[in-house]
Every structure is written in C-alpha cells, then in structure tokens.
Symmetry: C2
Subunit: 131 residues, 2 copies
DNA sequence: CCTAAATAGTACTAAATAAGTACAGTATTA
DNA sequence: TAATACTGTACTTATTTAGTACTATTTAGG
C-alpha cells in the first residue's frame, strides 16, 4: 500500500491539537487529548522540534506550541519532519538512498517529475485545513 | 521515508520496456532488458495482468504486451496494480484498513483531501512520459 | 537551593511489511 | 507431443516501522 507512516498520521493529529493551545502544552496533555500513547507523542515531538515545526519550553509549565501559524505549516512539512525528505523512489534527486540500477535504467530521472507533482500537492494542504 | 515500493518502481521500468515491444515479450526477455531478476519480473507481471494493464499470451512465442497505449496508462494505475488502492492513511475512504481512533479523531476525514490531491498528481504522469 | 515537572537523547525490542525464492501446474504453438 | 512460457501458491528472509524503556538535562517556584 502506498501510504504515509502511522507516525506521520499521528503527527498531523498532534499539530491540529496544538492549534488550540494558547500556552505551551505538555506531551502528557497532548496524549490525553488525542488518544495517542504518551511515549509515542514524546518521540514525535522530538522530530517535530528538530524540523522547527514546534517550539519547546522545559521545566514546570513547559510543553510545546506551534512554531508558526497553522495556515503556514503544510502536510509536506510534517511528512518531511517525521519521515525525512520526500523521495518516492531512490532515484529521485533528494533521496537519501542510491539506486543500484542507476546507470542503465530506462526510467532514469523520470520519477523526479512525479515526485515534484506529489510534493506540490502536499504543499497545498495546511494544518489549518485539517482542523 | 515516504515512498513507493521497490516493486512499483520496477513495475514502471517493466511497463516502459514493454512500450518498445511489437509482439508479446516473455518475462525472461524483460528481465534481461531491465536487469530486474526474472522471478521478480514474474511476480510483477501477475499483478499487472490482474489489474488489466498488460495482456498475456501463453505458449511458445508467448509473453506480455501493454493492454493500452502508453499515454493512457498512468503512474496511479501502476501503483494501484502493485500496491492496491491508494490510501495515504487508514482513515481515507477507499482504504482497506480501519482506523481505530476513527470515532474521536480530530482530523477525521481530512486526509481525503490530501489523498485526492496526490492521486490527481499521479494520474497526470503516464508511461509515455516516463520513456 | 532543592524539588517536581517536563523536555532531550539514546538504545533496544517486537511486530509488521516487503522482497525475493521456489516449485508445481496449465495453456499454446510449432 | 515436446518445448516454451504463463499461472498460482507458499515460504523464507530481510528490512522497516512501531512501540518501549531509561537516563540526563532544564526550568520554575517555594
């Protein structure tokens, strides 16, 4: 099946939850709100933080909040934060893998086009659209 | 990583190879042309056949050929043939899975929009575009 | 300054999926 | 009727994903 990771799915749910947060919201509360297990939320937040999609505050009254307005964060951003660069196949330019057939492959470079089209589609939908 | 199966990637290579086939082309020859292992080609062809993307002829001088003109077969068709219905998450309408959070999920149904956008993008690129 | 709350980072285990292989069966044509 | 090539099923192995656990670090407030 062609699909995003479960974690990516969770991540969108988390992001949507954070839209309604005025103050920093701790992982534990996010877990309660969304039904996603606490340890999993924790793991997710690290990825989202590293990608700069959320801000964190440590200590008492700490937690997470969105780093930008909901309508500026796209599904493409979330997928990239959780799963790394979007590369439908290993022969796409920004892929982390290397294709072993690369040198004599009949579709060399053609997937780039498909990839771009998909990324474009994913950039059109924002967190605000998901709420 | 957000990507298609390796088999789907192979499948496009196979389809592109078949574009140049006047007669039916046996799996073995497809394997030679593309560098994809013969047993894997065999497996692929079954999926492509079932999906109606290729035609088969048994016996001597048998093999496979495209069931429609290359410009009418899309990447979406190939993905669906190999991986089943395109459903980015399990809460998308045509998904085979069921989402266990479905009833209280904050993003209920919102992924449909994303899914449609992606499918649309995938339908715009054809086998002819990949050659 | 000390304690409790909460994030940050790393490493590990288990489950699910994908990839590859093997083999026996069936149809077709020369 | 023999050789060729598709058809179908089952199995094994490798890879990826998901989930868990634990320790360290930071911060606010009494």
């Amino acid at each position: 099946m062609f699909k995003v990771n479960k974690l990516t799915d969770y991540a969108t749910v988390v992001m949507v939850d954070l839209v309604s947060a005025d103050l920093a919201r701790p992982s534990q509360k996010i877990a309660n709100n969304t039904g996603i297990p606490y340890p999993t939320v924790n793991k997710l937040m690290k990825d989202l933080l590293q990608a700069g999609l959320v801000r964190s505050h440590r200590g008492i009254n700490g937690g997470y909040s969105l780093a930008s307005p909901a309508h500026k964060i796209t599904i493409a951003d979330i997928i990239q934060a959780v799963e790394g660069p979007i590369a439908l196949t290993s022969c796409v330019n920004n892929s982390l893998d290397k294709c072993s057939y690369e040198n004599f492959c009949a579709v060399q470079g053609r997937w780039n086009r498909v990839n771009k089209a998909v990324v474009k589609a994913l950039k059109k939908v924002t967190v605000a659209d998901m709420t």
